[in-house]
Symmetry: C2
Subunit: 187 residues, 2 copies
Amino acid sequence: MGRWEPDARGRMQRAALELFAERGYEQTSAGDIAERAGVTERTFFRHFPDKREVLFAGTPMDEAMHDGVLAAPEHATPHEAALAGMCAGAALLEERRDYAALRARVVEATPPLRERELLKSAAMTAATYRALRTRGVSEPVADLAAHSAVTVFRVGFLRWVDARNDAAQQSFADIITATAAELRALM
Amino acid sequence: MGRWEPDARGRMQRAALELFAERGYEQTSAGDIAERAGVTERTFFRHFPDKREVLFAGTPMDEAMHDGVLAAPEHATPHEAALAGMCAGAALLEERRDYAALRARVVEATPPLRERELLKSAAMTAATYRALRTRGVSEPVADLAAHSAVTVFRVGFLRWVDARNDAAQQSFADIITATAAELRALM
């Protein structure tokens, strides 16, 4: 790098989110994001391949879930181990609820980002599945446990960032546990 | 149309699937698909905006699920109604297992098609959610029931098209019911 850039990556991510929210994704270029973040366009492309990737870099949610599943107690059922993975993923976001809420709104309103978010979900399911298999869980059970846990994570995430949830201020992990219990009751 | 083209759309869909399987998605153009199907490229673009959409046109899975949820008995629980929607979706594929199996393999191996397939899943969840809301189911319950039903559908689908399932020859609808029971037991 030509000069020291403290947290250039984080600044570009915040800048991108602001610009996408203010003027829309289509109306924002990589150059706009770089300018708002106070870096050159060249620096932008050293960190990200394109503007779509900016909001998806640097949060290895699938790895956190994978490691969380492996770290669950030995006696945990596949479902419990999968939920432990979801809570490990939730921990990455716990302190950043406002950012996560704004990001969720921007993603929901922007088809290319929604597609990318779905890929991220699929990667979370795959990582959870792999970790359950490593624990010795059979293929069909691991598949179902991973899919349903990520379903609980996604529904729980939307509840956690929902503005109407402001008063309650439950932690994301608590909401995941409550959502899993609701799903159990529902079925 | 310049001349009568019996089932041109179906022929193009089969041609696309064959070509994607034989030489890969990237190596297949809209013109190749038209040629194999015996139609002009102009005809291709009258039916589809691009080659990515060919395998996703003409199967209104989300509508079938929506209508299936609404057609469930009045006393059905939200979970039961959502599963009725999944079985209505399954009915669209029941007679086309070989096509569905080949299509699933091609989609899984082709990132742009995988992304598109995830969007289709999201549309199925949204349609199921809307139908449950129309039935008077509350927002959080409808959300969870729709997400978990589509999870059961997707896991059930992979089991149904799995080559190792050939001997059993269970119907897709039966596999959905069995998968839902397994999920219940798992939780």
